[in-house]
Symmetry: C2
DNA sequence: TTGTATGCGTTATCAA
DNA sequence: TTGATAACGCATACAA
């Protein structure tokens, strides 16, 4: 086992000083042509690479960004990681991934862990529990310490920072409007609990769409699910107790459970009931019938988040501080789970 | 914005030396009760946390482990990340995630990036291109530099390091045996190209199962897919050109494409053709019909990998070097896509 | 009981 | 043109 080459070792080997080696490798004109070439040749031959940690300490920059996501079952979040990773790597950054498991404590712990020098900034989607508690001191603290923060998907208004979201209200409206367009009149919604920002917003969009089409809103047609775990059973119970011709679900898992339940109870999708989901993932794509969804472009969200964060990181500190909210367009991917009933 | 607290600042504030502060915070008996308490109280009040980077430089340990995976579309890999992350966090480690996108160059680049001090060791599943080229110098280099390496899933014999795999041959055999048990006689296999270790091994298992049941092996019943991209079309063409009553696919995507194609051509699954997949992910679980699969326990693979790596990292260097290969048991999850034809 | 000096690997400043 | 020195934040052997 040969330990890593350092400036010191090169210096010793070539019988020059450390600073000479450092300068030569950075092509400083201070160093004479001959010595410079000699040093560079040596370094190249033995494949010298500067130590990132030392650089981090010196520059007070780690060139890594931390991303904390609530859960990994949702394909959406993994595509966001993918987008972040892509942009980050292009810009010479590494990506530290942490999972909060939707737990407030784990989220705080993760942030503390990374805030002590491991990362230059954060990209984060809030844990369910955090939104429920409404306790965001850890976010504010990071910002106060000069660590930029980008929130995506599950964000909160009260924190001033960059944000990347989709227009959840408009997306939901689009979904419900589509159901109305294909002839649905009694449309159920399967949502998450209200304290999750996206759940609330999508519910708003649902209501607005109904309103605009002069359809009465019925509280009983909304199911709010707390835990992914029990979702299947809850959906089954819910749907067996209400007569509907359309279902709007806030994620693919719920949508698929809905289809399953409906089929098992003898209804046909889309002939009897149309079902639309949110977040266009593998599940929607591969499912039979192919699931009509509002596409959420996780990849793009990740890319935008990373760009935003890196921009802030590389900005000269004198520039004025202001925050952007980027809204990534949603699309409507029509597949086989919704169909005109005429 | 208040910059981070350092030992230096505390020392200055309390008018003691840096080392006194350092020792006091580490509960050294060298320091007098009174000063110690004073310093600790101060540190606690202002929430002092040592700088990870400085610690890394000092200890020549980063307490982070790097994981490089080939692609993130497969739910399997994300569950592995999840498992790694879990164990790592429990042991006080961070996780750096990189994607190789199945590209040899990106894999090498990622490793070089992380090897310069960013990580203490690697957990890695080989890129397709890497296996095709058979060029593993970057792995050997990392090992030579004293960075432990754990390979999982897509591994290679010629590199001496810890490995976490499943018994692919046995898993495949199990799958095919199940198809035989439910009465299938002409069983197609949808695999990956041979240079991907798991593709080769699972093909072996397929053959062995047939042999043991005195069924003739037919080369034409095997489809080898190179790119995920074109898989759907290839599978469609393949299945429309051969009459089978069972299909064994090496991942869920292929399995689902098979079901889709079969159904579109008027065949019923499982009544006419039984289909079994590999890797028990969301797709298999949620699909209709529920997909029978060989379960691969990505979470466990991740956990074992992390444990193995950390064990090596924390071992005293004098201990003898030896490598383990952990084989994680596969299971058979029977759902609705396979059914007895009696 | 406390403080000084040194080093981890770099780079930047300044002196030779 | 080159080299010595200090600094980034921390820990520790050793000196006071």
């Amino acid at each position: 086992m040969k330990p890593k080459l350092t400036l010191k070792k090169i210096a010793k080997e070539l019988d020059v000083s450390i600073s000479t080696v450092s300068k030569a490798l950075r092509d400083s004109p201070e160093i004479g042509e001959e010595t410079r070439e000699k040093i560079k040749a040596f370094a190249k031959h033995y494949n010298y690479k500067p130590n990132n940690i030392a650089l981090s300490l010196k520059n007070r920059k780690t060139k890594t960004i931390g991303i904390i996501i609530p859960e990994i079952v949702h394909h959406f979040f993994t595509t966001v990681i993918s987008g972040v990773e892509k942009v980050a790597n292009e810009m010479g950054y590494n990506v530290l991934v942490c999972l909060s498991d939707n737990s407030f404590d784990k989220e705080v712990l993760n942030m503390e862990m990374l805030a002590n020098g491991s990362t230059d900034g954060f990209i984060l989607s809030l844990a369910k529990e955090t939104m429920q508690k409404g306790d965001y001191h850890h976010l504010q603290e990071a910002i106060n310490q000069g660590m930029p923060l980008v929130l995506f998907d599950r964000v909160v208004d009260s924190i001033a920072c960059d944000k990347v979201i989709i227009d959840d209200v408009a997306g939901a409206k689009k979904a419900v409007q589509h159901l109305l367009d294909v002839g649905c009149r009694r449309i159920a919604m399967i949502s998450t609990v209200d304290y999750v920002s996206v759940g609330k917003l999508r519910t708003k969009g649902y209501k607005e769409a109904l309103e605009e089409n002069d359809i009465e809103f019925d509280e009983n047609l909304i199911l709010k699910i707390e835990e992914m775990e029990d979702s299947e059973k809850e959906i089954e119970e819910f749907l067996s107790n209400c007569e509907v011709d359309g279902v709007f679900a806030v994620n693919e898992h719920f949508a698929i459970s809905a289809v399953k339940t409906l089929q098992e109870s003898g209804k046909k999708v889309p002939q009897d009931v149309s079902v639309i989901g949110f977040t266009d993932g593998e599940l929607s794509k591969r499912f039979i019938p192919g699931l009509t969804t509002v596409s959420q472009h996780g990849m793009r969200i990740g890319e935008e988040s990373a760009r935003l964060l890196i921009e802030k990181l590389e900005r000269t500190p004198t520039e004025e501080d202001y925050y952007k909210t980027i809204i990534v367009e949603t699309g409507l991917v029509v597949r086989d789970s919704t169909k005109s009933k005429k």
